[in-house]
């Protein structure tokens, strides 16, 4: 449990310089990810990533968002049942699978999420998404 936290902090420090900016550089992975976020994620997780109390979890500094990339990628691919607690809180809506998104789109949106809403964590690559998708 602690190992990944250290990893998250380290990787956060490592990419702090290019992740701080609110407006991602045009054409960057985060900029493309913002578009994916607006189409598929924003309604539930909200424009500021704050989620909906007791209904849809926030994306701000939660262990899922900042933690192991593989877990986070699997959540996007397979969705998450409402019966699974997140940082000890229960949220009542199921998250549907988003496996219809391309590897690059998932990489982009996770890179965007991990570098916005006060989050500072490393980018996700299409290769990492591809590897996780192959696991199923």
């Amino acid at each position: 449990m602690k190992k990944w936290m250290i990893a998250a902090v380290l990787s956060g420090l490592w990419c702090i310089s290019d992740a701080q900016t609110k407006k991602p550089a045009a054409g960057s992975s985060a900029a493309r990810g913002k578009k994916v976020y607006e189409q598929y994620c924003l309604t539930c997780h909200q424009v500021d990533g704050s989620g909906v109390p007791r209904m849809n979890p926030p994306l701000i500094k939660t262990s899922y968002v900042l933690g192991e990339k593989s877990t986070l990628i699997q959540v996007v691919l397979k969705g998450l049942e409402a019966s699974v607690p997140i940082d000890d809180e229960y949220y009542s809506n199921n998250m549907p699978p988003h496996d219809f998104l391309k590897d690059q789109e998932i990489a982009d949106v996770l890179t965007y999420i991990r570098s916005n809403f006060g989050n500072k964590a490393s980018a996700v690559t299409a290769a990492e998404v591809k590897a996780e998708r192959a696991k199923k």
């Binding site: 309604t43 424009v47 969705g79 409402a82 549907p96």
Partner: protein, 427 residues
């Protein structure tokens, strides 16, 4: 010290601007100090609001006794925190004596014929009240209904009682639109939706029988996605319910719906129920702009095809996604004549609109002979405390439960901070 001085100052200010006597018979010494700021609420002329309790936690539904004591169902699983009992020991209008009991999450609470009824997300309990309307045995309620389905989504079991010894329980659908995979883009709706067998409706049970479950009750009405606010109308002897309409028309079907249409569809509907009624979920939704029942896109709809020939029509269609969590028919004598027998609806406020949320107010619908007799209007606004709300997390308060006091005042709960508002009228 400082707070005391401020409090005194506010009290004096309150006394100077307006104070009004609470309708307690023969006790003119009891004065309620009005809050000149109306606790931050915007109300019609002549109405006043006061925050009579704060910081209760997730204050959901509410019931007021004939003595003016208040029971609030708290959405908390913490030991001993299920129900808050509020008492005003010095008669100044603020509930200064607050105790809690019970250990279960849940939303529903009601008082009927000498009993307090309260629900968890799977069961309904009742507690015997003494002649002072106090709960006799806080640790050993009678379990009257058990084994109701709870799959976390739409899990609250709201309750209402009629005058014939029946209790009505909402069992919400654990799904948005009964797709093969919930909320998944491209997933079809299941034909003969099996969720309707044990959920997505209102079940009727006896109010005085122990350990009832599905087999002992009757599915009173079906095809209701999720109801949180419901009330028995004693004028027409009908159950009225507020449905939470479906989500995701734009998100899942951008080929049929624009972002704007996704924001405005479907309507949040008020239904007047007769036994056996079907409101049509998941096969249809109600389009409040065209006033038509439309075939759901998961079942072959495209935003244009109509559906639900056998489904009932709503009696009021409100704007989409505002999340009606409380319904109350006003039978008191304190408010002006137009409010008599009308419906108050507490809208928790939307989360699934884009570019601006809606709701976070209490609405009013005038009624005549058990049917709406005019357009709905906003009655109490300003709960959110911020203009142009973008995300529900920004709201300082969200209205949830409604109750009528013995003097005809209206009570509103807030489940963000746990404020209880008392709204009264004086000329």
């Amino acid at each position: 010290m400082k707070t005391k001085v401020i409090f005194l100052g506010l009290s004096l200010l309150g006394l100077m601007s307006e104070s009004f006597a609470i309708g307690k018979s023969g006790d003119s010494s009891r004065h309620v100090v009005a809050d000149p700021g109306n606790a931050g609420l915007k109300l019609p002329a002549g109405f006043h609001a006061q925050a009579i309790a704060e910081n209760l936690g997730g204050a959901r539904h509410i019931a007021v006794t004939r003595k003016g004591d208040i029971y609030v169902k708290i959405q908390s699983g913490k030991p001993g925190k299920a129900i808050a009992v509020l008492h005003d020991s010095d008669g100044d209008g603020k509930m200064d004596d607050i105790k809690t009991f019970g250990t279960y999450r849940g939303t529903g609470i009601a008082i009927k014929d000498g009993y307090l009824y309260a629900s968890s997300d799977e069961e309904v309990f009742r507690y015997k009240l003494n002649d002072q309307y106090q709960v006799q045995n806080q640790d050993q309620p009678e379990k009257i209904i058990t084994g109701l389905i709870n799959r976390h989504q739409h899990e609250s079991k709201s309750i209402a009682l009629d005058n014939s010894g029946n209790i009505y329980v909402n069992i919400g659908a654990y799904s948005n639109s009964c797709q093969e995979k919930d909320r998944a883009k491209g997933a079809k709706g299941i034909q003969g939706c099996p969720i309707r067998d044990s959920a997505a409706g209102i079940w009727q049970f006896r109010a005085d029988k122990a350990n009832q479950t599905y087999g002992d009750g009757t599915r009173y009405a079906s095809g209701l996605r999720n109801v949180v606010g419901l009330d028995w109308n004693t004028e027409s002897n009908h159950l009225f319910v507020m449905q939470h309409g479906r989500d995701g028309l734009y998100d899942m079907f951008p080929e049929y719906y624009s972002l704007q249409q996704g924001n405005e569809l479907p309507a949040e509907c008020m239904y007047k129920l007769n036994k056996g009624d079907d409101a049509g979920w998941p096969y249809i939704y109600y389009d409040g702009l065209q006033n038509k029942k439309m075939l759901a896109p998961e079942y072959g709809g495209d935003g244009k095809k109509k559906g639900g020939e056998n489904a009932i029509d709503p009696v009021v269609a409100f704007p989409a996604h505002m999340a009606p969590n409380g319904l109350l028919f006003y039978t008191g004598n304190q408010f002006p004549e137009k409010y008599k027998n009308g419906a108050f609806v507490a809208f928790h406020g939307s989360w699934n609109r884009q570019k601006g949320q809606k709701g976070y107010f209490v609405a009013f619908v005038p009624f005549k002979n058990g049917m709406p007799s005019g357009k709905w209007e906003i009655f109490a606004d300003g709960f959110a405390g911020v203009p142009d709300i973008q995300s529900p997390g920004q709201a300082q308060h969200r209205p949830c439960g409604l109750a009528q006091g013995p003097d005809g005042s209206l009570y509103v709960t807030d489940d963000v901070k746990g404020t209880v508002y008392k709204i009264s009228y004086s000329k």
